[in-house]
């Protein structure tokens, strides 16, 4: 194995081990407020990366679908008394079905029109959650919802492993889907819907399926989110949170599903610690939003393909430097320049031998 190939293989082994050992090494704040939150946001961003990457559908409705699952979990747990896990699973199912419904509404739109439709659906859901008291609890929302691992504060490692397992399952499933026939048909529809239609694929139905899967993954994030916070209110599905999902996906990199988690970790770190940053005596404690915006701007400016694109380019850069150092330059070789052949102006140009035409 060449040295360039050994590095990713080593990383592929170290990263899972580090993720599993993580809660044993850090304080609770870092298990819950940093890592678990990053995983939860990463899963909802993953749903967007999946829909945008495999389906070419950039949807702004993912935060709303996650919020819907969170609200459903709360209603099933608090109003109907269901235990946590069944409530969570039914909530994910509801989010999947509503995702399919959104897909049915938006399946014939593309590009910017699709984006606007999903934005309208998301904002519509926000106002429904804000103003409806019979089902959604209005501006107060719901509180006192516990997950199957109990209060995250009391069992942080257990909750972290629940999030990690869900994220890994979602990530591997979507990666498998990308290579399965269904995933390939999704990509075909992304690249050339007319040709796929001509080949006999029901394009709108496939788009509905993409939205349904997006709703499923977003629903997972929503359920984990309410188990993490213990509460849900309309502020979790407002315009700011809707756009946050897009920022996470873009900053992480839309090219590969792992970008969603990388972006989410970056996002959580910046949001948590921007107010603690002091640069040349100026504290950002009241201007943290400026720093957050600047950091996203810098990433997008210098890494248009996101943080994972930057990592890929860094790997190429290091690989090239290593290869340069390995090659022995040797003594400088001076190759003699060939003498120019004098061209006789009157001479016939050299003729290439040709076969006489067979005229028989």
């Amino acid at each position: 194995m060449t040295r360039a190939r050994k590095v990713p293989a080593l990383a592929a082994l170290l990263v899972p081990v580090a993720l599993v050992l993580y809660p044993l090494l850090v304080p609770r704040f870092w298990i819950l407020s940093i890592a678990s939150q990053a995983i939860i946001l990463g899963i909802v961003a993953l749903s967007l990366v999946f829909m945008a990457g495999q389906g070419g559908m950039v949807s702004l409705a993912q935060a709303a679908l996650a919020g819907l699952a969170a609200y459903m979990t709360a209603i099933l747990t608090l109003r109907l008394g269901l235990p946590a896990l069944p409530a969570g699973l039914i909530a994910v199912l509801i989010a999947t079905l509503v995702g399919a419904l959104f897909g049915a509404i938006a399946s014939r739109s593309q590009g910017i029109y699709f984006l606007m439709l999903t934005l309208a659906l998301a904002v519509g859901f926000f106002y429904l959650a804000l103003q409806n008291y019979d089902l959604f609890g209005g501006h107060i929302g719901f509180a006192g919802v516990l997950g199957p691992t109990g209060s995250p504060r009391e069992n942080p490692a257990a909750f972290y492993y629940l999030c990690l397992a869900t994220a890994v399952a979602a990530y591997l499933s979507l990666r498998y889907l990308a290579r399965a026939p269904l995933g390939l048909s999704f990509q075909g529809i992304r690249d050339n819907p007319r040709r796929m239609w001509a080949l006999g694929y029901w394009v709108s139905l496939h788009r509905v399926a993409i939205f349904a899967i997006g709703g499923l993954v977003a629903g997972l994030s929503g359920v984990l989110g309410i188990w993490y916070r213990g509460s849900i209110s309309p502020g979790t599905v407002d315009l700011t949170r809707t756009i946050d999902v897009l920022i996470i996906a873009v900053v992480g990199g839309l090219g590969h599903p792992i970008g969603a988690f990388v972006g989410a970790l970056f996002f959580v770190l910046v949001q948590t610690f921007a107010s603690s940053v002091v640069v040349l005596g100026f504290s950002f404690d009241e201007r943290f939003n400026t720093l957050i915006g600047l950091s996203f701007l810098l990433v997008v400016l210098f890494a248009p393909d996101g943080l994972i694109g930057l990592a890929a380019r860094a790997r190429v850069l290091i690989g090239r430097r290593l290869a340069d150092r390995r090659r022995d330059p040797g003594p400088p070789v001076v190759r003699p320049v060939p003498e120019p052949v004098p061209v006789d102006a009157g001479a016939d140009p050299p003729s290439t031998p040709t076969q006489p035409l067979d005229r028989s």
């Binding site: 407020s33 504060r153 921007a274 940053v277 950091s295 210098f302 850069l317």
Partner: protein, 426 residues
Amino acid sequence: MKSSRAGRRLFALSVVSAILVSACGGSTGSQSGPIKIGGLATLAGPFAVPGQDSFRGMELALDEFKNANGKWEVAGREIQLIKEGSDATPAVALEKAKKLIEQDNVDILIGPLSGDEGLAIKDYAKTVPDKTFINGSSAAQDTTFRNPAPNFFRFSTDGAQWMAGLGKYAYEKKGFKRVAVVAEDYSFPYTQVAGFMYEFCAAGGRVPKKFWVPLGNKDYSSVVSGIPTDIDAIYVALGGADAVNFLTQYNDAGGRAPIIGGSITVDQTVLGTTGPFQERLVGTAAAGPIADTNTEKPWLDFVAAYKAKFPDGLPSPSLFAHAYYIETKAALLALKEVNGDLSGGEKKFMEALSKLSFDTPTGKVSLDENRNAIANEYVTEVQKGPEGNLVNNVVAVAQQVDQTLGLGKDSPLLAQPVSRDFPACP
């Protein structure tokens, strides 16, 4: 050339990361080192300007405890203030509170600003019994009235207390017997309306109809057309732009009923806007924890100190600066009393807080058994000022109002949590 461009990008990104990583350092609290106070106010969203003023209030209180070197100090221990900003949503307030308590290891958390945030922080406080949580200016009733947290202290009064004196004044002095209500649809206006109705309904007044509008509503046509014709006045608990929009549209539609204001309905931000409805606002009664034209010396001293330290602040300290000032001062006074002793789960400090009673720019403040403030409230009326502008003049002072507004805990008007439908006296 390509590799150096990628190299520059990598460098830029690592600079960003390095700056962030440098901020990540956590620390552990100690019993003899500096005392860490966490300040939580809204620095984003609709209440960003009040949030900034809140931190000004905190700094005014801290400035009263300076040592010889000009640094904040109590009982020989330096005081560090760590600020965090929320956006009036409970989820973000909770995350920032967790960061202050668990990552920055603050000993005392002072905040939040907004009603819904306060309810979330109260629930969080119950899971951290060995740290002290002091309110900022959040004024929802249930934060301390129902299921209070033993380590959550509120030295400011709630939205219902802010209305003390107004219901009675409206019924007796102004002669209003039937009043309609227009208010925003969330916990703080619920509390304000309840505070008005406690006294008004108890005196014999009737509230036949209530209109609840979403925060930020622009179109009040359905409200204006639905207001009954046989009412004597409208109680309006809207803030800022919402108040201006409603008053303009009501006036344009020919509505002539007098207005009764909530605590943020006829403050200087609304009185300072121009419009034909301005003339009709003269005589509007309102109430709140402060009054701009208060002539008592402690208030004037407070305003002078605010203007001296913050020449680019608001023209007069807002009720948010006032609330955060009182909460911070309470913390510092209690710290002085226990000589900076925060050991043993801060038990001594919490006990000193619960027994604390001191003089503020608006009179004496003490706590009831739910650790909620008992303080003075001001009833005001809008009148023309000396320069022709509109100001709120004090017409009555309700002395030492408790959270039941004198009704007692068993009053039927307090039997259920405040909501759109409760209390009711149609």
